[in-house]
Symmetry: C2
């Protein structure tokens, strides 16, 4: 057997994996040292980023192989040399988590075993451990463990799509008779994630089925505006099928007033989906969990554990208040879940997901929950929240910077104030300058048409001094752009 046919599983799997993983990690380490910072300098023009891609021949599939060791060494080195490293304190643009080593190690086992959760006979332990993770997380959400359930997803976008699909089916409004009964509508705030409108598009409702609800002064969904918007939808003869509240908007981390919104949706018999892709991780923190009061009244919830959960992608989680709400996804497929097999106890999770084949992403989550506990993960959440507060205070104390608002979770939105020139253009250019110089990866977004900068702080090992240095680099880059 050459290394080319060495499998990761079976009784020799671990013997095959150890030297190859060592080789891969050697390349990874080498590339990281060579990168020597949060990203390769010169941005899209970085040496070797596009040409050759670590020895991969351009434009075609290599006809013969170079062997596992050489491919792993060269390509792992190239891959990390040209990566953006969320574990670098100067990488703070996105909800792009530096994963915990324990989670990556566990995920290696999930990959080697290669369970799939769509039938019992592709992964009994995968099916069992996902159930445990779902129970653990639904208990933190505050759902009743007797009725709630859920499944891992590829992330918030899939979770939001799943929730809105169930809402659509629940409302009993197949899109093709919408013309008769009124147009299905989804209500969310202007700061809701773009995947809500995109989901409406995928679901055949049209992206413009998403109706914008007004914000309060802190950019949270305003309950009075929600009532008025629902009345207006009714008045137009349209049909509201769901309200989507956000717990942790992508930019500001704002959490909509969940309990007040739940009171409205309950009174009207409407589906409430909470997109807690970002903020859901606050369930781990005694300090921040109260911000999620009312989450337990949602019909469905999206939480991404590859955000405030420090998992490698993918670690999305979609939960429902009551298992019966999954009914529209149930399927009987002869080759996957025959009825007599299920009666004999061979149960699958096919009916919990829009996917068929599904990796046991729950395994890395389970190992992490057991290794750190709620308290351990909560400490990481609190640490990142502390870093955001420090950054906000530092921005406030820096004359050339203007804070947008106090941080809600772990993001800080602010602007560089140029002495001269168009502020939007200067902010956009200073950000690209930091990337071109290989110095820092800062986020950008827009509010009211104005370009803003953003730090998304998800690295618990970042220090206050790192934050100070990062903000100093922002100011220096801004000054250079104005020079």
């Amino acid at each position: 057997m050459t290394t080319s046919t060495q499998l990761a599983g079976g009784s020799s799997g671990h013997e095959h994996l150890r030297p190859l993983i060592d080789t891969a990690l050697d390349g990874f380490a080498k590339g990281t040292i060579e990168r020597n910072g949060p990203l390769p300098a010169r941005g899209p023009g970085a040496d070797g980023l596009h040409s050759g891609a670590g020895g991969f021949p351009e434009g075609s599939c290599p006809e013969t192989g170079v062997g596992s060791a050489r491919a792993l060494t060269e390509m792992s080195r190239w891959f990390s040399q040209h990566a953006i490293d969320p574990a670098d304190p100067a990488c703070a643009a996105h909800l792009h988590t530096p994963p915990l080593a324990v989670a990556v190690a566990a995920d290696t086992v999930a990959g080697a075993v290669n369970s799939s959760l769509d039938s019992w006979d592709q992964g009994p332990s995968g099916v069992a451990i996902e159930a445990e993770v779902v129970r653990a997380m639904t208990s933190l959400i505050g759902y009743s463990p007797e009725t709630a359930t859920g499944a891992m997803t590829s992330g918030g976008t899939e979770s939001n799509l799943t929730g809105l699909m169930l809402a659509r089916e629940h409302a009993g409004r197949a899109a093709n008779d919408a013309a008769v009964r009124g147009r299905p509508r989804i209500l969310c705030s202007a700061d809701a994630h773009f995947s809500v409108a995109r989901s409406a598009g995928v679901l055949g409702l049209g992206e413009d089925a998403a109706v914008e609800v007004g914000l309060d002064s802190r950019r949270r969904m305003d309950p009075d505006s929600l009532r008025r918007a629902l009345d207006a939808v009714d008045g137009d003869g349209d049909v509201p099928i769901a309200v989507v509240a956000t717990a942790g908007t992508t930019d500001l981390g704002t959490i909509d007033p969940l309990a007040e919104i739940a009171a409205i949706t309950e009174a009207r018999g409407l589906w409430l989906h909470v997109d807690a892709a970002y903020g859901g991780g606050a369930v781990f923190s005694r300090r921040l969990a109260p911000l999620l009061d009312g989450l337990e009244r949602a019909d469905s919830v999206a939480i991404d554990l590859h955000k405030l959960g420090w998992q490698p992608v993918a670690a999305g989680l979609f939960c429902v208040r009551d298992a019966t709400l999954f009914e529209p996804l149930q399927r009987r497929v002869a080759y996957l879940n025959a009825e007599d097999d299920e009666q004999a106890g061979y149960r699958s999770l096919l009916g919990r997901s829009l996917r068929t084949t599904r990796r046991a992403d729950a395994f890395k989550v389970a190992v992490t929950l057991r290794a750190l506990g709620r308290a351990g993960l909560g400490a990481l959440v609190d640490r990142c929240h502390d870093l955001a507060r420090h950054a906000a205070s530092r921005v406030r104390g820096t004359p050339r910077l203007a804070l947008h608002s106090d941080p809600a979770l772990t993001t800080v939105v602010f602007r560089y104030l140029p002495r001269s020139g168009d502020p939007d253009s200067v902010n956009a250019r200073l950000r690209r300058r930091l990337m071109d110089e290989g110095r820092a990866v800062v986020g950008r977004t827009e509010f009211a048409g104005a370009v803003q900068l953003k730090l998304t702080l998800l690295n618990p090992n970042t220090t206050e001094a790192d934050i100070d240095a990062l903000l100093d680099a922002v100011v220096a880059a801004g000054d250079k752009e104005c020079a």
Copy 2:
């Protein structure tokens, strides 16, 4: 720093990962030895499968952690002890691949680096390597490298959904004016994957928007039946928006006559999507690639490299003939792909996927393609095809077994012929008996309402003697059920 806050990335990441991965692999190895076969005995009643799940407390999130080493040791052991191992030659039920060790090693690096492909500044090398993998695969498909493109997906189900969504948009038939213009319809054979109808449901067309096209004597889509079905749809005033051909049906591996179907869809200006989730891997094989003639004429193609590509899940690939066909998925999002950033070369792959956050699954594929080359992967495909032919011949020579049909790819569908008792029940029970005894994992499906058994042969290291022993075990289990 305790192990609880050790990150996988950064310059110390490899130092954190090595001992933890070693620990995880120790547990993995121990569990594999203890399982001592393709699956744990006693099926869903296996000791320790549900209670405790490797030390995970039942029903709640652990409050405090036990540390990374203990969690990894105990849970990796439990996970593999209670897994079903596709690397065991007696595990042959599903399109459930034993992954190559080189791919799992590469995937560990992808997890540690944790790139996401939805913006340039979350993974330049991830964005670049996906483009290389897509070019390599589209060249094997036979697409023009100048125009074709694609993206990795979570699997065939997501790929089929993406293809059908693009087809729906392309047809310019938003579901909400379907009532006026006629009902959108999707044509596929009765043996098409269930995700085609499910996609129609998700897309708001209704699951029954999928129209069944008749089969020829080899259960391939019959071109004359397709013409008649399209005429009937037109006659009803409905609107065909896509034809879905299958290249490798889940059970029989049947490949629809792609070139003949393409001639029909081209003549009528219809979108052709080919679900080659299983059979697409035949592009690697000189022997089998001719079966895919016509694939290059499809508008969109789904190929799962976690099937005939020996990748750990997920490694789906969705390709389109022409990059402009992705237009309906384009999005401009202030925080991800601002226009001036894209003009400066900071390009993302946001518009290539229904997902937002997206792991660099392309990295493991790229390393595998480079390590083995087309020829190396083709040899694995041919080996599994040989095993299927051997199994078919052995079934044919066994009096108590009846072959359904000659294998097309790497599956063999057959039945045990009981001396007495209901054949369906006996076949279903003998399969569960093999699982209950921890002996083998054989597939099952149904044709014409009759339960069939199935071997899905994806392990290139399986020997002819393993196949013989597996079929002997099937016969012995059947005989016991009839005794």
